[in-house]
Every structure is written in C-alpha cells, then in structure tokens.
C-alpha cells in the first residue's frame, strides 16, 4: 500500500429519503454513533426521486461511491416509491457494472427511521469498501482534474 492509498479519502454521496433513511441518519447522530466524515448526505423526499442522472453526475464530479438509502420495501411513505427505486436501481447497477464500473461503487440499502445503528454500520462498511476499491477512475470527467 502506497502512502497515497493510505491517505485516500474517498468522496461519497449518500442520497437518503426524508422519511426513513434521513431519519435513520438523524437517529445515528442523536445516538452518537460514529461513521466516516467522507459520507455526505443529500436529502430527497423519496428514494424514487433519485434520477440515474444524479448518480452519474456524482461520479462525473469526482465521487468514488454513491449510496442510495430508502425505506424498506413495503414501508415507503408514498406507498410504492421504493418499489420503483428497487427496479430502476437493479437495472442501473447491473448496467454500470456491465460497462466496467467496479462492483459496489453504487449501492442501495433500505434503512428505516428506527435503524440508526444500521445506518452507521452501513456507512462504515460502504466507506471501507470504497477505500478498498480505491479512486474511481473508470467513470470520471477528466476536466474536473487539474
């Protein structure tokens, strides 16, 4: 492992639905659970609001990992939003792997408002995984680099 690798601080965006996962992240916070500061949360009303365009954009701008969190299927605040998310993301993740993106750079997790511990665990695990994968070089906009 080179010095660069050890210092590698991935850029990670977490899209969280307002009703479950964002609240789960709040609970992780109020329970003082720790997870890496690399994770930055973007609040969306529902996981189904997350357009594949956003996910690609995140990589374009230099992210190393994107995680999308929503309510558990069946518990969506809007009844069915996350069912569509589940289908869209199943296809998108598969397609992105197909064109050669490393496994696990894009991830979907269901985290309820009560699962603060799961939120923290998931983020710890995800950041660890992205650290192991290293910098995203397969999907990036070279113009963002100096």
């Amino acid at each position: 492992m080179s010095i660069d690798d050890r210092d590698f601080r991935p850029v990670i965006a977490a899209f969280c639905c307002n009703w479950c996962s964002y609240a789960g992240a709040d609970l992780a916070g109020s329970s003082r659970m720790k997870y890496p500061a690399e994770v930055k949360i973007i609040r969306v009303p529902c996981s189904c609001r997350v357009n594949p365009m956003f996910i690609l954009r995140t990589f374009e701008k230099g992210a190393d990992g994107v995680i999308l969190c929503g309510c558990h299927p069946g518990d969506c605040h809007y009844s069915t939003g996350n069912y569509y998310t589940r289908r869209r993301m199943a296809s998108l993740i598969s397609l992105m792997e197909f064109v050669g993106l490393e496994r696990g750079r894009v991830r979907v997790e269901w985290v309820s408002a009560a699962e603060g511990a799961k939120f923290a665990e998931t983020m710890n695990e995800f950041v660890e995984h992205i650290r192991a994968l290293g910098k995203n070089t397969r999907l990036e906009d070279l113009r963002c680099k100096n």
Binding site: W19, V50, F54, C71, Y84
Partner: protein, 662 residues
Amino acid sequence: MQKIGVFVCHCGTNIAATVDVLRVVEAAAKEPGVVHAQDYPYMCSEAGQALIASAIRDKGLTGIVVCSCSPRMHEATFRKCAERAGLNPYMVEIANIREHCSWIHKDMEEATQKAIILARAAIAKVHLNTPLAAGHSQVTKRALVIGGGIAGIQTALDIAEAGYPVDIVEKNPSIGGRMAQLDKTFPTLDCSACILTPKMVEAAAHPNIRIFTYSEVERVTGFVGDFTVDIRKHARSVDMDKCTGCGLCQEKCPSRKTPDEFNRALGTRSAIYTPFAQAIPNVPVIDREHCIKFKTGKCGLCQTVCAAGAIDYTQSDEIVSEKYGAIVVATGFDTIKLDRFGEYAYDQSKDVITSLELERIMNAAGPTGGHLERLSDGRMPREMVFIQCVGSRCSDGRGKSYCSKICCMYTAKHAMLIRDKYPDVNVTVFYIDVRTPGKNFDEFYRRAVEQYGVNYIKGQVGKVAPLPDGRLRVSGSDLIDGKAVEITADMVVLATAIEPDPSARRLASMLTASIDTNDFLTEAHPKLRPVESPTAGVYLSGVSQGPKDIPETVSQAGACAAKVIGLLAKDRLTTNPCTAHSDQLLCNGCSACANVCPYGAISYEQREVNDHGVRGERRIAVVNNALCQGCGACTVTCPSGAMDLQGFSNRQLIAEVDAICR
C-alpha cells in the same frame, strides 16, 4: 443573483464542541451570493430567530441557510421565522451539521471540513430555490379508529364527545379487546369488566359512533384530511337488525369443540358464538370454518331455533368505502409465542400457563368458573411459581429486547389476589428487577411482599421440568443469596412478553406509517409528538405505539383524540407546495409518469402549446397539486425531464451533488 444569509448555530456545545463554527461562518461568507454570515449559540431561540429576521429585513436577503440540527427538527421553525420577516418560507434551507456531523465525528478538523461542505451544498441549493405558495385541501370531518379495545373505545368516545363522527373497526365479533379478558386491574383491584363494560355500552349508544365489528381495513388511499378507506365486513351469517341476542342459537349449536379464543383456548365454544357475555354488539357470528352447516350442508339448527329469523347462511363479505379526515391506529397487542422457550415446558405441561391465561382462570366467566385449579387434573395448587420477563428484556434474540412494562404489576396483582383468596397457597416470584414506577404502584408491590407474604426471588429460572407425579420442578437461582433454588410447584405462570398485534404490520404498510424493528408504530417525535405518526393524519393510541398499562393507554387515547379533534376542527389544511409539475414544452405526453403515480394525481390534456413561436396541439401531463404528495416517482420515469419537483428540483439536487463533490 440571490442575496443569501448563512446562520451557523452552536447548539450550545452540541455543534460547537466538534465543529469550529467560526470557520464555517468564514467559509460560507466566501461562497457566491452570500452577503451575510454569522453564528449564534442557539439559533432556534427567540433571540436567534430575531437575529435571522433582522438580517433578512436589513440586508434584503432573498434566501437563507441555517446550519444547525436536522431539518426534521427545526426546518418548520426557521421557515416560520423567515415568513414573519417577509421572506417566502421555502427560501430556507437547512444544513444538518449536528445529527449528520458534530454528533458523529470526533475530530474537529474533519467535522469542520464536513460542516463547510454541507453548508456549501445548502447554499448551492438555495440559489435555485424559488418562492413557493402552499395550497389548501379540505378536511373530511370524520375519524376512523382501527381497533376496538380500551384504547380505541376511549379515543372514539373523546372524538365523538367533541361532536365529530367516528367509526370503530374491530376485527373480532365484539369490541372490548384485551381489557375484556382481564379479571381485575392493578393497582386498585377493581373488576376489569365492571369498568370496561359501561364504556363499551357508551360507545355503542353514542350517536356519533358507528361500530364495525368482525371487520377489517382492506385498503387505504388518500392523505391527511381526505383518506378513503375500504372496510371489509366479514359475513356474520346473522342479521344484525333482526337478532335479539337471546343466545338460544349458541345453546343449541351442536358444534361445540372449537377452541375458545376469548378464553385463550383453555375452553371450547360453539360454532355460532359471541365471544363473551357482555359482547357488543350482542349479536353472534357463525364461525364458518367450524360450522357443520357450512362444512357439510347438513344441520341448520340455529336457523330452526331462531325465532327472530336472523340466521342468514347466504351472507357474504361486504366492502364499505368511507372517507375520513384522520385515522387512529389502536390495534393493541398479543402475547408472544413461546415455542422458542422450551425450558419453561409450556408445551409439555398444562399447568404451565401464561399470565393472560391465568386472568381467564381467575375470572368468574372463565373456563374454571373463577376457581384456581390446575388444568391438568382440576386440583387446587399448593405451590405456585411466577416467572417474570419471559421473552422480555431478552438479549439472545429469542424474545423481545424491550421491557413489556405491565408484567411486574400484574404479577404482583396475581400473587396478591391468590394469597388473599387462598392463604395456604405458597406464591414465589422469580424476577430480574421489579419495576414499579407509577402512581401507587410501588406501594401495591410492597403490599404483595409485606402484607401478603409473596416470596420474591431475584434470579432467573433455568428450567421447568414436569415430574412423574404431575408436579413441576422449577430450577432457578437466587442472585442475592448466590445459590441455586429448586421449587416443586403445582403451577407455573409465565409473565409472557407482549408484542404488537400481527395486524399492525400490514396496516402500517397500508397507511404508509412507519414501524420500528419490533413492529410498534413509530411516533412523529418520541418526546414531542408521541401520539402522531410521521404520516400526517395518522395517530397512535394504546399499545400499538409501545407497551403500556390501562391508565397510560387511556390517557394516551385521550391525547390522541385531542390531536384528531384539532385536525377535524380545521376547515382546510395547508398542502405541501413541494409538488411535481410538468414543463409543457418538454412533455411528450407519453403517460409513463401516470403509471407510477401512487396518488392518481397526473392526468393528460390536449393543449395548445406555443413552442418558441410554433403553435400546436399537444398531449400534456397535468399534475393535480391537491393530490400530489411530492414523492418524485414521476420525475425519474419521465425521460425528457419535463416532470420536475418543486423544492427538490433536478437542478437543485445536482447543485448539491456538485457542491459535495467539489
């Protein structure tokens, strides 16, 4: 260009201890469009809000970012503050630097850097915010209470008393719930039925209350103020209007071997039955699964003996569709199954029973007529052992992690009642802790120990073994004396953990109300909004929200009713302006969005569109803002990007992405 103000809260030391607030202010001040940036110890305080308001006025701010706690906590506070200062409330964005930053990180540098990035994202977003105006929707002035136990009855009565119509839906043939099964109640020892029955009668007789028994909620659509609920009324096979409740049918019914649910299957009942004598309505139902007429076609005895001609074998389920402004969940609890607790020999011996079964045995209307006796041989027990926390406070995953809350008190009650009525029965209670907070609760427990001589042993029971003579060997430990204890008992009573009624999970899905890992419904806020679900218009009453005893249930039921009344008293509600809208120049009219809309809020219109001077008829998606709840499913389905969501627009979210990845 917006003129943006950034306000960074210390939250005392909650934020300031880990985030260098001043550096956040400095960094924010350098962002484009930011004309004002400052910090304050408590931004949500009156003084903090005054500070924001004056900055809005003095500097003519067009948008503000508050770096503070979660927007779920204070977004509404700061929006109202902005509104009072003359700024559109939707020009406010919150950067969550407490729950998502200071509370999860230890390193100050790291947390400060992250806080700066979160602030930047919020600033980038607010640049693209537009003033939004909330719409209004009507309120249907009727409430639905799901569950007809004491929680549901009390909530319904309180709402009805305030003058609003209420419907109660109960899945059993009678209202009454668990409380109807209890013998006496702690700490006053008054008879459960004696205090419950008048409430049941009052509910049944109330002009504002309709009761649907033997019914279940099948489907829920709509939203706060305007829910549409389909209620399935199971076929009772008895005409409610004709039946006089004489009970002759139940007497004559030849099918008598069905386990009696009301008596926890300790006895049997007929196929046509009312669950208990004081049932409301006092109209039996035919249990079609066990009725000979339905099974073989032969019999029909009840129809022959019914003088009122009320028996109707041809009845079928009926779906009633009703509109409601508010929905109360009061689905109550059941005791857990004990199949994972083999050490207590519950399945091996009839004399190992749950506390709820003991309630039925102690009850004069129960399977033993109120005589304390062993179910195996009918003999009076001489030695009784109560085991506490069976499946509660359980850390090995077999039971529940929580405390069921009611067991310490009802066990003291049982022990006391038994010692009172049968002074020569020895009673031993094994406990982990005795928890008796509550008015007159500890006094009650102490009476059991001091006055009635109940033998309390701090320690757990490792094994209950049935002996050849039919008695039970209870092996436990006494933690205080530090020794093993062995008692040969005649009866063992298990204080079995309670869990939400299994119907709660399905119901929560239908209501899109959130539920915790134990299937208890989640409150909108555990401290400040304990009787509301995060789903607007859905309220929580009784044990469906968490374990509680009767006095707590009744007070919560009243609180819940007050919230419902508060909602129903409004003539109209302010709707969320963060709804979808379609850009008619981009819309293809392809119908994909309508396919995924859960609210049926999207329709299509032929419209004359002027596309940069070219006029033409187009099929355009139109969003009904009263129906749209703002999930955004349509926005992603739309290939052309015509559908967008106010408050969470494509460009706003992309601006946040860019700010985070910068």
